[in-house]
Amino acid sequence: MRILNLIPLLIIVSFVVFMFVHIIPGDPARLLAGQDATREEVELARSVLNLDKPLLQQYFIYMSGLFVGDLGFSIKSGASVAQIISDRILPSLGLTFASIVWATVVGMLIGILSATFRNRWPDQLGMLTAISGISLPNFWVGLVIIQIFSVQLGWFPTGGAGSWQSYIMPSFALGAGIMAIIARFTRSSLVESLKQDYIRTGRSKGLGKGSIVFGHALKNSLIPVITVTGLQFGFLLGGSVVVETVFSFPGLGTLLIDSIQFRDYPVIQALILLFALQFILVNFIVDIIYGFVNPKIRYD
């Protein structure tokens, strides 16, 4: 059912991305053929790119290409876009995954501590950390920790994706913001849950604070937290472009920036589509998890 709802969105998103190459100023065919190409060469490039066909037919060709993994060729290197992306996707996925994992774990922990010790010092400290985390420019965090931990202390490599150590600092810089958001939402959601009648019921049964928070309140609080995590995943994808640049990390983000500098439109187009798809996919997964946590949705 939910998958069916997704289809129109996917079609429109793919169409928007497809149109991208038609909106850009300048003639993509000339770009491919080169500045000093002859008129014939430009026309040849145009037919290679299918730009001489009607718009709908172009879209159809583009979509059928997508289904077989044909994303076109890079203007810069001539290599297939699918190949270029597949070389870069794993480090990026690893980085995103590491960031979301630590951010969720630490964010929820801070949120739980803040809510249980509401208005006392752990709460104030936790929320100060959280609002700072939201306000920190991630590229600056990256630069500062490079200065401290790579340049001064020499603990971690300054960049690249050569070893697991090189993932630590980028995932810290990338996850800090989302960690802060998760902490704030966990807190407010848990505070709300702890006010509910069923908490008093739990206490009237003789349950301790631990069982109350972890056994009863937390699961109820997860519902909004999960939604927010899904929505903020886009924040993470966007941030990855910036953070990867800071750490010269060989992922999709740096690929996007390089491609923009070279005006390598087929690559940019494919990457933007990929980022959008990831985001849609994550929110789809969030919807499913949501159903697991909230029994009402499952049965209705």
């Binding site: 969105l9 939201i134 630069l143 807190r187 800071v246």
Partner: protein, 294 residues
């Protein structure tokens, strides 16, 4: 319904005392007060900053490059010997005006779309919300990068790109409140008295959506400063020679091992600015929307 949204927009004296109450509430909470003072200083710096810089922010001084913070240069100097404090002060105008104008454009378009969508419903509503869904499918920065890739780098295009991604959030926010308010009694009675649709929207519904717009506006400025700085940092925003905060960080990257202050101070200012807007927005939300407390 809380009292804030139930208040009739016609009660002008009440409105004035509400303003006073808001100001009083702001001064009551210490962090909100500190953040509002910092924002005030930023606004003053944005207006008169370029005229009061201790040094010319654009003039290189090759005898004095990358010198660490000292009495003469409290934030040190950059790779061209330019005073970093002067550059930050002069750049306040750029950074603030970029984000404020971007959010303003986004807020105006988003509010109009939200009002129209919520008020008229049906096909218009469906259409606008579908468009928002599509825009939401693209992560903010990615959308902005895409737009800048199309339009080319530059601050003007950063404003357009950032405004573009703020539109759907405002539209959704305003649509939600509009739907709530629409059902309320005084709109019903206004309609039965023969008020025109435009009058109902602007005299009755719009004032009710204002508190949440104000809160979201303040919070968005923080996020937008970060987004604009990110774009400049990536080389897609301000020209590297302008004293834009993000651009300063972008050019300073190369000196990170040798002159840390070049990186540190512009970033610190971005951080403090965004922090103030976020803290202030939080405080404003508690005052204007008691439902959202905690």
């Amino acid at each position: 319904m809380n009292t804030v949204t139930m208040e009739s927009p016609k009660d002008l004296p009440k409105r004035k005392s509400r303003m006073q109450k808001i100001v009083k509430e702001i001064t009551r909470k210490k962090v909100t007060l500190i953040s509002s003072i910092f924002i005030m200083i930023l606004i003053i710096a944005a207006i008169i900053g370029p005229w009061i810089t201790p040094y010319n922010p654009a003039a290189p001084d090759y005898s004095n490059i990358l010198s660490p913070p000292s009495l003469a240069h409290i934030f040190g100097t950059d790779a061209y010997g330019r005073d970093i404090f002067s550059r930050i002060l002069a750049g306040t105008q750029i950074s603030l005006s970029v984000s404020v104008s971007a959010v303003l454009i986004g807020a105006v378009i988003g509010t109009i779309l939200g009002l129209v969508s919520g008020f008229f419903g049906k096909l218009v509503d469906k259409l606008i919300m579908r468009v928002c869904d599509v825009l939401f499918a693209f992560p903010d920065i990615i959308l902005a990068i895409g737009i800048v890739a199309i339009l080319g780098p530059g601050l003007r295009n950063v404003v357009i790109a950032v405004a573009f991604f703020s539109v759907p959030s405002f539209a959704r926010l305003v649509r939600g409140t509009t739907l709530e308010v629409k059902e309320q009694l005084f709109v019903e009675s206004a309609r039965s008295m023969g008020a025109s649709r435009r009058r109902i929207i602007f005299k009755h519904i719009f004032p009710e959506t204002l508190p949440s717009i104000m809160v979201y506006f303040t919070m968005s400025i923080g996020t937008t400063i970060l987004a604009a700085a990110s774009l400049s940092f990536l080389g897609l925003g301000a020209d590297p020679s302008t004293p834009d905060w993000g651009a300063m960080l972008s050019t300073s990257r190369d000196y990170i091992g040798s002159a840390f202050h070049v990186v540190f101070f512009p970033g610190l200012i971005i951080f403090l600015t965004v922090l103030s807007f976020n803290v202030f927005g939080d405080g404003l939300r508690e005052i204007l929307d008691p439902k959202l407390k905690d």
